[in-house]
């Protein structure tokens, strides 16, 4: 794919999904606080762990007239902690507790891919 969205992904390899970390509380915010935000000075960039677990999910079934196949969406909890919403790819029906890996995506900025390693 083309280069990952630099607002969401770190530049170094392996690229990591970015959050903003509040300087005082340490709380993580996703997506990262915008550079033009008046709150930007209160945060620093933080690279996230690539793999998290599904907290909840749904499978959307678009109307037949759209021609779209069903797709899964969900909340993924990553170490930090931070909870991120996104597409869940690689498995038709996710399960709560499944491990998913964040990866860049040209359409959505990022998606979560079912992780081969489900330790």
């Amino acid at each position: 794919m083309s280069n990952p969205d630099s607002r969401l992904w770190s530049g170094s390899e392996p690229t990591r999904l970015l959050a903003s970390q509040h300087l005082r509380s340490g709380a993580l915010v996703f997506p990262p606080v915008a550079a033009d935000s008046p709150l930007a000075a209160e945060y620093r960039p933080a690279a996230l762990d690539p793999v998290g677990t599904v907290y909840s999910y749904t499978v959307i079934h678009p109307a037949a007239r759209t021609g779209q196949a069903p797709y899964a969406l969900g909340y993924v909890d990553l170490r930090g902690p931070v909870r991120i919403f996104g597409r869940l790819a690689g498995k038709a029906r996710p399960a709560i507790g499944d491990r998913y890996r964040a990866r860049p995506d040209a359409d959505y900025g990022y998606t979560f891919e079912y992780a081969e390693d489900q330790r």
Binding site: Y57, H61, R83, Y108
Partner: protein
Amino acid sequence: MNAVHIAGVAMTPFGRHTGTHAPELAQRAILGALDDAGLELADVQAVYCANVFGGMILGQLVLRDLGLAGIPVYNVENACASGATAVHLARHALLADQYDTVLVFGIEQLTALGGGTIPMQRNDRMTDLYARAGLVLPAVYAMRGTRFLHERDATREDLAQVAVKNRRNGVLNEYAQQRTETSVEEVLASRMIADPLTLLQCCPSQVDGAAAVVLTKRRPTGEHAVRVLGSVVQSGLREAPGDDILDAEITARAARLAYAQAGVDPADVGVVELHDAFTIAELLYYEALQLAPHGEAVSLLRSGATQIDGRVPVNPSGGLLAKGHPLGATGVAQMVELTWQLQGRAGARQAGQPRVALAQCTGGGIAGVDHAASSVHILGV
């Protein structure tokens, strides 16, 4: 005298009013509420108009031809909680002695949007990013449904039973859009929308309607004067990792404040209209409104207590699932229904002889909060 009463109420049937413009639709409710109150237009000192997608200065548009002599008109938007928020603000003005009598109406014409789920408020990086991935309100509720089925002793049939109950009530309500009964089997066999929510577990998206209430500080002369005992609007807290998406925190908070304000115990509530935009929502709100202890929502539903002839009937109007959910009108229409219930005027769907009623609605459409707004009103006779 600090009591605020509901002097009169009216609403249009909820349904497809294709080709009808906003003034003709809303004026029916407005004039009906004034007639119900035994008042004239000239008795109203201010008007509050609740709406989400109707465009600017809708209140003035609706009122232009009624000859209201230039009185203040306030246009109120708070997503699906717009109507309840308008009542809340109108009550503030009455309590502050700005007016004696005001009119609140809500109107929405969702058929003009062409169907489908309502759009998110995307003027925000987070909401836009999540909406691009597919975040819509049915998905939000569906994820709550998934988690509910995972954590609780609950089945898909329990979710479906909420739709069965409310559709059964809708049959009895001439104002409801959906007036046919359904079954658990039919609900579960309807088209999957956002797993575990099937089509019949989602409120209809093609609906128009208007509702109006007259609020006054002058005690109405009738035997069962309905009083606004509590009125609360709350906003959502920013989501945090580890949040429990089943706790409906914003609504639980609004309910606690409303009960305290009204001096009412949850056990005293005799009838409820709540925001069942999706079946799972009704179950979550049983607990948030303290109609059931934590973890007991399904038991309450299965017990039959929330049916029309139960201990605490919920959504005797058919709720959003059967009556329909024209956003700006919904909160006002809940209070119309509860006024009828408290005054014994609800006809075939009369739910006993309640003395205390509770209305609850939420407004959403942005990422990063449980809901943007939640409102709880407690009414009594």
